[in-house]
Amino acid sequence: MNLYRAHVLVCAGAGCVSSGCQDTQNALIDEIAKQGLDREIKVIETGCIGTCDLGPVIVVYPEGVFYRKVGADGAREIVKEHLLKGRVVNSLLYRNPLTSQLVQTYGEMEFFNRQLRVALRNTGIINPDVIEEYIARDGYEALARVLTTMSREDVISTLKQSGLRGRGGAGFPTGLKWQFAYNEAGPVKYVVCNADEGDPGAFMDRSILEGDPHTVIEAMAIAGYAIGSEQGYVYVRAEYPLAVRRLQHAINQARSYGLLGQGIFGTSFTFDLDIRVGAGAFVCGEETALIASIEGKRGEPRTRPPFPAVKGLWGKPTIVNNVETFANICPIIIYGPEWYSRIGTEKSKGTKVFAVAGNINNTGLVEVPMGMTLRQLIFDVCGGIPDGKEFKAAQTGGPSGGCLTKEHLDVTMEYDSLVELGSMMGSGGLIVMDENTCMVDIARYFLDFTQDESCGKCTPCRVGTKRMLEILERITAGEGQDSDIDTLMALANNIRTTSLCGLGQSAPNPVLSTLKYFRAEYEAHIKEKRCPAGVCQSLLSYNIAGAKCRGCGLCARVCPTSAIIGKPKEVYKIERNKCVKCGACVEKCPFGAVARA
């Protein structure tokens, strides 16, 4: 084996792929060869490092120097300066958004050093296509120990003791779920991994599959042993082609190493895995709809009970677990349930991966211990709100969740405290919103999504979400009626209590929680025909303030509909009937004279 003095990791998560990491990597490899460094320096294509807005990202080990936004030229410079001469390339370093200081290494970035990576322990560190790299970091050791030193009951009680709860949304105790499936009679049972990840904005499951596929394979084999199953399925959406490719490659490798198949590690245990690709429908993430989809039927949910653990895939006992849930299994086996249950809070053990997006300085993936406060997560780990704006709200749980406000910044992020506030953990999507966000519009956005994704099987969800959406649309269009809030509440409660599955049961949540915390905003839209955040186009009017206007005429020049008239050095005026409310004049005016109200 060749020995390398430095490893250069190129993030090839889907985010960095779209920002052009392939060109960066090619340039890097070419220049390394050109400088004759190819026997000393190894380039490793890795999974998502987590800082998705900074891509393409490169990390140089052993120092751990973190470079961001590295194009092909930047890559060549890193080779010539850093790798050849040992000089860090300052222009490609990350700058702390709050202190404006340059940060050299991974470990010095708040974004990373506040994290605790359990599920993401290998993601962004290993090459997901090379099974040896996984094995080098204790890969398949947990499966080896389980098969040779633990009984099936031991595995289940270890999981119960660890306190691990499902990361797919509901937070059901994983050990208990496995116990239920174990209790059922065999011989045929199934292990299913839910990688549908339908919450818009969440991408932790994709990143784990892309960055560390073997951890899911290994954990599913452990699950198979524990419940008595020989076959697993990973249900992934077709929109995740890279995840599908890397997972399939990893399955093939595991088979050829004898880590999947018959008689694993010389025991009598047999287990194999297949991928099932879904078309990408939110409802197919719901476990009974997912099972129907694997069976080749329409992806529609059915009533529970019977739960899948009793009657699941093809009517056989089945466990369905989320990708991130599986990614926690091997560390629990290796380091023990006591270790795991020391992380987190009393009722929410371990860590949680959040996909942070919206009005936030560091967007991306972060894994932190359960129980961190929302404030720490947003301001310490993720660098706060950009452009000096104020924090207004954060949506957790995606379209099924609710919002948290300024008063809730000190809430601890764990399953039960979020539910208490009318939100939920969900899969870990976290959308941060600043003062310029209209909460009615946000509620409309989520309802638009759930309404669209409703499978139509049950009436409350199919018709009810449509009616709610219509009301929200008319409120944001300035045509709200006095009775609308009451009607929304009544519909919401009906849909919540009578829908067949979690999609409908949770669809009204964004409306209920914005109504609870931002009712005044709804009232301003309905009664005063005013959007306080200045978002809802139909409710906006643009005016030029005479006192501030210097008559430069820039606004008139950028206006696409020639709605602004006036003479140089005089106050300009906007003609209402021509104005399309695009806002171009507001952006352009150097004196802040155009007001949007």
């Binding site: 084996m1 000393e40 040992g86 050791e141 010389g266």
Partner: protein, 118 residues
């Protein structure tokens, strides 16, 4: 792979593959790789350190590089950061590199003859 022993044997073999990325090193060896250092053979020195650490399977030791430290007449310059503090060696050849590993890094004895002070 047929047994747990096979897995553990393979892990031993491939451990080096990801070790560089682990962090938490106790000993850090920094080789000056300015133009002057490279001209004086710093790359061979650097690679000698890397080889020796791998051959001896030492853990907790990393080798990195730095730019010119301004002691160009005494290159290759090597800095060893360990529990005993910071030591700067001058004119380190691959041969000297191997002795620094065995005597200083492993043995804990600074090789005073090669130490330079600025």
């Amino acid at each position: 792979m047929k047994t747990v022993e096979d897995l553990r044997k393979l892990r031993e073999e491939v451990q080096q593959m990801t070790k560089l990325r682990d962090g938490g090193a106790e000993v850090k060896i920094v080789v000056g790789m300015g133009t002057c250092g490279i001209a004086a053979g710093a790359r061979e020195t650097l690679n000698a350190f890397v080889q020796e650490i791998a051959v001896k399977s030492l853990s907790g030791v990393v080798v990195t590089q730095a730019g010119c430290v301004g002691l160009c007449d005494r290159e290759p310059i090597v800095e060893v950061n360990a529990k005993d503090g910071r030591t700067i060696y001058a004119r380190v050849t691959p041969e000297k590199a191997r002795r620094i590993i065995s005597e200083h890094v492993q043995g804990g004895r600074v090789i005073e003859d090669w130490v330079t002070r600025n």
